[in-house]
């Protein structure tokens, strides 16, 4: 019985190490998929234009600087087919936030000014009512489309369509409600109000610049060529001659995906390596207990040799025992790792994240192989000690 407790405690190092590796790989994959999957599904054929030159170091917004170089007529220029070929839609964005009030209820939320073709670039749709039209965008109409969280916060059970809200000192009419979409990455698409971009610029913020422009290309268009054409169009718009002087930056969505994938992969590998270190600690625990076991069983080893066991057979027996320990520990680690990863996925879903529960089969195989390898590596020294015992000395051992 005490041996079972001891074996279990010994295996615990391997259990925790393997579980940690599985959990980190699974949660890492889940987080990665959370960021990437939805971007991918709609982000294909998408080109993003941001103000400021991307080669100038950290994003300017992070430094508290607003760059005002991107204008609404830039977006109009990009929509012209003789400037940029294969464009399906160009959506202009102005993003801010404000306190909105309805009948004494007030709620702070994101105010996104967009153009009427918003649904061409966003994976979203109308649940109730309607979206605003081109004419309403151009005339800076006082209309708004609400995310479901905003509806819940402000209106409760009241039908919001046709109600009038106050945003800053403007009154807007609610004309539609977005279908609930959940959080994508760090952004909650249900916690926002969409208004015509011109209205957001002029009436709410009193500015004339854009936060970004998104260009959706026709399916399978050449994104690299589109990026070049967009850059040339904007240089012409901004009277810029050299690429170094650009006051904007253009990113094909594939670039963004590659960058994010690279960063998240690096983080995942780093974390998995740290977790893997605990496996080494677990292996040392195995070696320690195997050495104790060899000492305790010296007489048994002597007897086995007396009745004809060769050194090789004793070596294999003890190696097998340590591999069994690590393999059982590894299996328990795999099972608990999967369970904990699954729980994490369940919690993420409860928090309205679109989280994939990913268990990679290669990761499981690697975990099993590592368990076996640890059993062999850290079992080899104790097993050699056992096999090299002289039968006479072993039999006499008290």
């Amino acid at each position: 019985m005490s041996n079972k407790v001891r074996s279990f405690l010994t295996m615990l190092g391997i259990v925790i190490g393997v579980a940690a590796v599985i959990i980190i790989i699974s949660i890492g994959n889940g987080a990665q998929s959370l960021i990437l999957d939805q971007l991918k599904s709609f982000g294909k054929d998408l080109v993003i234009v941001l103000p400021g030159n991307s080669d100038e170091g950290p994003p300017s917004e992070a430094m508290g600087i607003t760059i005002t170089t991107l204008k609404y007529n830039d977006a109009e220029a990009l929509s012209k087919p003789n400037n940029v070929a294969n464009v399906k839609a160009v959506v202009a964005y102005y993003q801010t936030s404000a306190n909105v009030i309805w009948r004494g209820n007030s709620y702070e939320t994101a105010i996104n000014g967009v153009t009427a073709n918003y649904f061409d670039v966003e994976d979203s749709s109308i649940d109730k009512g309607r979206f605003f039209t081109n004419e309403e965008v151009n005339s800076a109409a006082h209309v708004a489309v609400l995310g479901s969280v905003v509806v819940d916060e402000l209106f409760g059970d009241v039908d919001p369509i046709g109600q009038r809200l106050r945003i800053k000192n403007q009154t807007v009419e609610v004309i539609g409600v977005l279908k609930s979409r959940g959080k994508v990455g760090m952004q909650d698409y249900d916690d926002q109000i969409l208004v015509p971009v011109v209205f957001a610029q002029k009436m709410i913020a009193g500015v004339d610049y854009l936060s970004s422009i998104r260009v959706k290309l026709v399916p399978n268009a050449d994104a690299d060529r589109a990026v070049l054409e967009i850059e040339e169009t904007l240089r012409e718009q901004h009277n810029i001659l050299k690429k170094e002087d650009d006051d904007f930056s253009v990113h094909s969505f594939q670039d963004v995906l590659d960058t994010i994938t690279r960063i998240t992969n690096t983080i995942n590998y780093f974390l998995a390596t740290m977790a893997g270190l605990s496996l080494v600690v677990g292996g040392i625990g195995i070696m320690n207990i195997m050495l104790v076991s060899v000492t305790e069983r010296t007489r048994e080893i002597g007897l086995r040799k007396a009745i004809g066991a060769t050194n090789g057979q004793i070596l294999r027996q003890f190696l097998l025992e340590s591999v069994c320990l690590t393999l059982i520990g590894g299996s328990i680690g795999i099972i608990s790792g999967i369970l904990i990863s699954y729980l994490a996925a369940v919690v993420a879903h409860l928090l309205r994240y679109q989280w994939d529960f990913v268990i990679s089969i290669p990761a499981l195989l690697i975990a099993v192989l590592i368990s076996i390898a640890i059993g062999i590596i850290f079992g080899l020294y104790p097993a050699r000690r056992a096999s090299n015992l002289e039968p006479v000395d072993a039999l006499r051992y008290e």
Binding site: L303, K305, A306, I307, G308, T310, Q313
Partner: protein, 241 residues
């Protein structure tokens, strides 16, 4: 029967070198034991009789001198070849039984078969030996659930399972009450009657006199080698069929 002795030791010396402290344990031992003999090796503790038994049983090697076991010069055999000889030709019975704890009687007896080349019908062979020795009803008992006398009989069964030519018994009755001790001697004599060579190491004259011949060791030297005049016969046994 072979025309050479089963055991043939010539000018055997054993010297231990324990971190520079040199101790000679056996001095110029010459000994021949024929197949089918029952020999007691007697001597007080520290006399070297156990060391001699270990060398004769191929558990240890002489420092100098020659030892032919069944015609093999053991100086020319590798450790693995010695292990194989121990497995196939030699059985050991120890004072302290040396059974594997938390393991059934049957599995203990099967142990030598696991290291044998012939792994056919291991359960049947182990069971047969146990039944012959009167332990057919204890097959699935754990080795720590049976009495001392039964433990030693299990150890004898383990020694017998590969049909060895010789059994080395090192103080086999030392840890037993007299009744169990007599049973063990009965079994050893019965085995000897069927042709198995028995080499018994003991310091008790009473036990030693169950053999046909007594070899006395004193301070590492062979001091006498004589037949037993009035050989003791352990009383009629009901344990061996």
């Amino acid at each position: 029967m072979a025309d050479y002795p089963l055991i043939d030791v010539r000018h055997l010396n054993k010297i231990y070198d324990n971190e520079g402290v040199i101790t000679q344990v056996l001095f110029d031992i010459n000994l021949k034991i024929k197949s089918g003999e029952f020999v007691s090796i007697m001597g007080p503790s520290g006399s070297g009789k156990s060391t001699l038994m270990h060398i004769l049983g191929l558990l240890d090697r002489p420092t100098s001198g020659e030892y032919f076991f069944n015609g093999h010069n053991i100086n020319e055999l590798s450790d693995n070849q010695l292990a194989n000889l121990r497995n196939q030709s030699i059985g050991f019975v120890f004072q302290s039984f040396n059974l594997l704890p938390r393991t059934t009687v049957l599995d203990n007896v099967k142990l030598p078969l696991l290291y044998s080349r012939d792994k056919r019908k291991m359960d049947e062979r182990a069971r047969e030996v146990l039944e012959n020795i009167g332990l057919g009803h204890r097959l699935y008992y754990l080795s720590n659930q049976i009495s001392g006398g039964e433990k030693q009989r299990v150890a004898i069964a383990r020694a017998l399972v590969n049909n060895p030519q010789v059994i080395f018994a090192d103080e086999p009755t030392g840890n037993l009450d007299s009744k169990s001790g007599i049973q063990v001697m009965q079994i050893l004599q019965a085995l000897n009657d069927k042709g198995t060579t028995i080499i018994l190491v003991t310091h008790e004259t009473f036990t030693a006199e169950h053999a046909q011949r007594i070899v006395k060791i004193y301070d590492g030297r062979l001091v006498s080698d004589e037949p037993v005049v009035n050989r003791r016969i352990a009383k009629e046994n009901e344990f061996l069929k």
